[in-house]
C-alpha cells in the first residue's frame, strides 16, 4: 500500500514548482464544467472559499454545514490576523522569509513544497479580501496596516481589530452568497455528513443527516472536498466551538483516507483557566498580551494556599516572593517564548503545586509593571477589548489585579494526508484547511491558519481539482440509488439505532468529559511511553463503556442535539486512540509534541531527525485492529535544519 503515499511534489527549483505544476494541470472547458458536481463539507474559510470559487468557474457545487448558517463556522472566532508576504513595511519580508519561518516554527515537520506555495499565494489573499470589502485596519494615509506576530522577524500580519477571522469569513461567505444567488452553489445548513460514499474506490458522494428533521439523505457528486476543521474537541475542553468535531474526516479515514500526524495538537498558553467542573469550553486571550504582561506564580507554597483560600490577593505578595519563571528559565526571550514552550513551563509550575486558583491550574499574567511604565490609558488602547472580555468572564478587573491564565488545546496540525494537489489517498476526495495535515508541521505559527484556509480554497483547490475532474466529465451524474449508497445509508441508520437502543446510565457529556481527562492527562502537554500505553487501554475501556452504557435522549426523527453529540463522541473515542498511538510511535519531541523521555538537560524538546523526519500516515485496518503506519520522508533541500533556542 506504500505506493499510495505519492506526494506528487513537482520537480524543479522550489520557486518554480507551483508555476510549472499549474501549467501541467488539466483544465475542464466551460461547457463540461456545467456537467460536473462537487460536494464541499464545511463553510469556514476553507469550505466557503472552496465552494464559491469553483461555483464561479461554472461547476455545480453543494455545500454543507452543521450550523444554522454558513457564517457561523469556527473560523469566525480567529482574533489576531492573517499573514501575507507583501513586504508593505519594507522590512525585507519575502515569500522565502515567510516560507522559512513557517517551516522553522513547525519544527521541521512540514512539507517544503506545500509551505512555499502557501507563502507564494499569501499576497493574493489580501488583494482578494480587500476587493470583497473586508475592512482591514488602515494607516492614516489610507494604506493597509500591519502588526507583528510570534515566530516572525517582520511585520506581515493584516488584521481587522480583534475580529480578523470574522471579517475574512464574512468576505468568503459573501462570495458564497453571491454564487448561491447565481444558482451555481446550493447551500445545505443544519446538515451533518455521516459517511463518505465510494464507488470503484473513488469518492462519489455522502450520506448526511438533516439536523432539523432527522432524515438521512444521499447526495452524489463527481468529487468531494472536506473542509471540516480539526479534532481539538477530543479533549472535551478546548478553545474550539462546541460543535467543532472530527467526524467527517474520521469517516474518510475509515473508508481508506490516510490520517497524518494525529498527535500534533497545539496548546495555547494564554487561555482563561477552568473555573470548575461546570465548565463547557475555554476562551483564548490573544498572544499579543505577552508583549506587556509578565507571567508568574508565588515562590512560597504558603502564599499559594492563602491565594486559593482567598485570604490574600496577588497584589499582597511582595516582589521578592514572586517567581517570574519564564524570565528565569529563558532570559533571552522571557515572556515571549513560543506557544509550546510557554505552555509546558506553566504546566511544570502547576504540577509542582504552585497553581494560583482553587483548581491549582492557573498562573498569573500581570500587567502592573507595564501599567506603571506606560500608564493605564496606553494599556487600554492596546488591549482594551481583551481586558473587557476578561472582566466579563471572570468578574476581575485586570487593570487592578493580574489575569489568571492556563494553557488549553487550540488547534490540530494533524489531519487527513494529502498530496501536493490536496487530494487524499482516496481519488476524488480532497481535504483543505485545518482538516489536512500539510502546512504547519509540529507547531503552527499565529495568524497562519487563516492564511492556509483561504489559500487552499481560493487559489489552490480550484486549480488542482480540475486535474481530477477533467477525467470525470464523460461520467454521468452519480446515481444515489447505487448499491454503494444503499449500503452506506444502511450502516449509518444501524449505527444510529444502535446508539439509541443502548439506554444506559451515562449521558454523552459525562463520557466525553472522561475522555477529555484521559487525553489531557496522558496525551496532553507532556507525554511518555507508560502514560500513552495506559491512555490507549483507558480509551478502549471507555469506548466499551460508551457502547454499552450511554444514554441518548430523544428521538431520531427530530431535531436532537444529544444524538448529534453522541455520534461525534463515538468518533472522538477512536480519534483519541489514534492520537495516542501516533504519540507513542513518535519517540522524539518536536513542536507541540513533547515526549518526556526526549528532552535536553534543561527540559527542552529534543528532535530525532535521523529516525523521525517523516510524516506518519495511518491506514485504517478495521474495527479494533491496529492501524498500519506509512512513512512519507521529509526532505529539506532549501533549508538548513537547526535546533530552536530561546535561552541566549
Amino acid at each position: 500500500m506504500a505506493e499510495k503515499l505519492i506526494s506528487k511534489i513537482p520537480e524543479g527549483p522550489l520557486s518554480e514548482k507551483w508555476t510549472k505544476h499549474k501549467a501541467q494541470l488539466k483544465v475542464v472547458n466551460p461547457g463540461n464544467k456545467r456537467k460536473l458536481e462537487i460536494i464541499v463539507i464545511g463553510t469556514g474559510l476553507g469550505g466557503a472559499s472552496a465552494a464559491a470559487s469553483p461555483g464561479e468557474l461554472g461547476y455545480n457545487v453543494r455545500v454543507f454545514c452543521i450550523s444554522d448558517s454558513p457564517r457561523r463556522a469556527h473560523s469566525i472566532a480567529a482574533q489576531g490576523g492573517i499573514n501575507a508576504a507583501k513586504n508593505y513595511q519594507n522590512d525585507n519580508d519575502s515569500v522565502y522569509r515567510l516560507f522559512y519561518e513557517t517551516i522553522k516554527g513547525g519544527d521541521y515537520r512540514s512539507r517544503e513544497a506545500n509551505v512555499y506555495r502557501l507563502a507564494e499565494v499569501s499576497g493574493n489573499i489580501i488583494d482578494q479580501c480587500v476587493a470583497q470589502g473586508v475592512p482591514f485596519a488602515r494607516e492614516y494615509g489610507g494604506l493597509l496596516a500591519n502588526r507583528s506576530f510570534g515566530g516572525a522577524q517582520v511585520s506581515r500580519t493584516f488584521y481587522a481589530r480583534g475580529q480578523t477571522g470574522q471579517q475574512l469569513l464574512l468576505g468568503a461567505y459573501a462570495a458564497l452568497n453571491r454564487q448561491i444567488a447565481e444558482g451555481t452553489v446550493k447551500s445545505y445548513p443544519r446538515h451533518e455528513m455521516l459517511d463518505i460514499v465510494l464507488i470503484n474506490g473513488e469518492a462519489k458522494g455522502i450520506i448526511a443527516r438533516n439536523l432539523v428533521t432527522g432524515e438521512i439523505e444521499r447526495f452524489g457528486a463527481h468529487a468531494v472536498v472536506l473542509a471540516s476543521g480539526g479534532y481539538g474537541n477530543t479533549y472535551f475542553l478546548s478553545t474550539n466551538a462546541m460543535n467543532s468535531n472530527g467526524s467527517a474526516a474520521w469517516q474518510c479515514y475509515k473508508k481508506g483516507a490516510f490520517f497524518a500526524n494525529p498527535c500534533f495538537a497545539q496548546i495555547h498558553p494564554t487561555c482563561i483557566p477552568v473555573h470548575g467542573d461546570q465548565q463547557s469550553k475555554l476562551t483564548l486571550m490573544s498572544e499579543s498580551l505577552r508583549n506587556d504582561g509578565r507571567i508568574w506564580v508565588p515562590k512560597k507554597k504558603e502564599d499559594v494556599m492563602k491565594l486559593r483560600r482567598h485570604e490574600i490577593k496577588p497584589t499582597d505578595i511582595p516582589e521578592e516572593d514572586r517567581d517570574y519563571y519564564l524570565e528565569r528559565r529563558y532570559p533571552a526571550f522571557g515572556n515571549l517564548v513560543p506557544r509550546d514552550v510557554a505552555s509546558r513551563a506553566a504546566k511544570e509550575r502547576c504540577d509542582a503545586g504552585f497553581g494560583v486558583n482553587e483548581t491549582g491550574l492557573a498562573v498569573f499574567l500581570d500587567f502592573s509593571s507595564a501599567i506603571a511604565r506606560l500608564g493605564e490609558d496606553k494599556i487600554r488602547e492596546r488591549y482594551g477589548n481583551l481586558f473587557q472580555m476578561y472582566e466579563k468572564i471572570t468578574a476581575t478587573n485586570p487593570y487592578k489585579e493580574p489575569m489568571m491564565i492556563y494553557p488549553a488545546i487550540h488547534y490540530t496540525m494533524g489531519g487527513l494526508w494529502v498530496d501536493y494537489n490536496l487530494q487524499t489517498t482516496i481519488p476524488g476526495l480532497y481535504a483543505i484547511g485545518e482538516a489536512n495535515f500539510s502546512d504547519h508541521g509540529g507547531n503552527r505559527l499565529g495568524a497562519s491558519a487563516l492564511m492556509q484556509g483561504l489559500a487552499d480554497g481560493y487559489f489552490i483547490l480550484p486549480y488542482t481539482i480540475g486535474d481530477y475532474l477533467a477525467t470525470q466529465f464523460k461520467n454521468p451524474k452519480t446515481d444515489v440509488n447505487a448499491p454503494e449508497f444503499e449500503a452506506a445509508e444502511k450502516a449509518v441508520r444501524e449505527k444510529i439505532s444502535r446508539l439509541m437502543s443502548i439506554k444506559g446510565k451515562h449521558t454523552v457529556d459525562e463520557l466525553h468529559k472522561k475522555l477529555g481527562h484521559i487525553m489531557w492527562e496522558y496525551v496532553g502537554m507532556a507525554r511518555n511511553e507508560e502514560g500513552l500505553k495506559k491512555a490507549i487501554g483507558l480509551i478502549q475501556d471507555l469506548r466499551k463503556e460508551f457502547w454499552s452504557d450511554v444514554y441518548v435522549a430523544g428521538n431520531t426523527d427530530t431535531f436532537n442535539q444529544e444524538l448529534e453529540k453522541a455520534l461525534r463522541l463515538s468518533d472522538f473515542l477512536e480519534i483519541g486512540e489514534l492520537m495516542a498511538r501516533d504519540a507513542l510511535n513518535r519517540k522524539e519531541s518536536c513542536g507541540g509534541h513533547f515526549r518526556e523521555e526526549m528532552q535536553t538537560e534543561d527540559g527542552e524538546t529534543k528532535r530525532d531527525d535521523k529516525n523521525f523526519m517523516y510524516v506518519a500516515a495511518w491506514e485504517y485496518k478495521g474495527a479494533d485492529k491496529e492501524p498500519e503506519l506509512h512513512k512519507e520522508p521529509l526532505e529539506y533541500e532549501n533549508i538548513k535544519i537547526a535546533t530552536r533556542n530561546y535561552k541566549d
Binding site: 472559499s49 470559487s53 464561479e56 450550523s67 444554522d68 448558517s69 454558513p70 457564517r71 457561523r72 469556527h74 469566525i76 472566532a77 493574493n124 488583494d127 482578494q128 479580501c129 480587500v130 476587493a131 470583497q132 470589502g133 475592512p135 482591514f136 485596519a137 488602515r138 492614516y140 494615509g141 489610507g142 481587522a160 475580529q163 470574522q166 471579517q167 461567505y173 459573501a174 462570495a175 452568497n177 453571491r178 448561491i180 444567488a181 432539523v212 466551538a241 460543535n243 473555573h275 470548575g276 461546570q278 465548565q279 463547557s280 469550553k281 483564548l284 472580555m389 466579563k392 468572564i393 468578574a395 487559489f459 449521558t507 457529556d509 435522549a553 427530530t558 431535531f559 442535539q561 444529544e562
Partner: protein, 259 residues
Amino acid sequence: MDFKLKVWRQKNAKAKGHFEEYEVKNISPDSSFLEMLDILNEQLIHEGMDPVAVEKGCQSSGPVSFDHDCREGICGACSLYINGRAHGPDDEVTTCQLHMRKFKDGETITIEPWRSKGFPVIKDLVVDRQAFDKILQAGGFVSVGTGGVPDGNAILISHETAEESMDGAACIGCGACVATCKNGSAMLFVAARVSSLALLPQGKIEAAKRAKAMVAKMDELGFGSCTNTRACEMECPKHVTVSHIARLNREFLSAKFKD
C-alpha cells in the same frame, strides 16, 4: 446558587408551545448562562433515564434544545430571550458571555426563543434564521470573483472610513435586533451590511442597488418595518448603532430616485 427556571418548550414548528418550570441547584456564579442550561439538561436527561419516575408521571420533555457554538460571543448562534431581554440582563454581551453572577440567588428566570414572524421556532429555544442568509444572498456582497483583482494597497481607504465600516461589519447576525423590535424589523441587520459596504470604494458602486434588493427581500420574508424606536441598538451585543440605518435610507432613496 439556586434558580427557578421557566423555559419555553415546543416540540416542533407546528406544535403549540408551553412553559415548563424547573429548578437548578449549586450553580457556580462563575458559570455562564449556557453552562447553567447544560447542567439543567444533564438533570433532565437523568430524570428521563429513570423508568420508575417516568411511570410515576415525571413529565420530562427531555433536554432543552438551544442554539450555541463558539461560546465566546462571535459566532452569533446563541439567541435567548431572558427575562424579557434579548441576550439577558447584561449589556453588550451575547447569551454565551452572560454569567450567573448577574442574577440573584433564588431568582426565577424566564427563558424564551426569539419571537418573530421572520424566525419560526424549530424546537424549544431554537429558531430558523435562514431568512438572514436569504437577505444577504439578495445583494449583501461586492460582485467580484476570485482572482483578477488589484493590489490591496491600490485602493486607498482612510483610517476613519475603515473603522466606521468595521463598526457595521461587526454584526454577528444573531437576530437580537429583530427579536427586540416591536415590529419584528430586520432594519439594523440589513443596514449594518449595506452601510459597511457603502462606506468603502469597493462597495460603493453597487450601494444603491444593494440597498434596494436587500430591503425588498426583507419585506418579502415577513419582517416588519422600522419606526425608529431604537430598541434594536439598545440590545445589539456588538453595539451596531442606528446611524447605519440612516445610511441605508440614503442609499435606498437614491435607488428609488434612479427608478
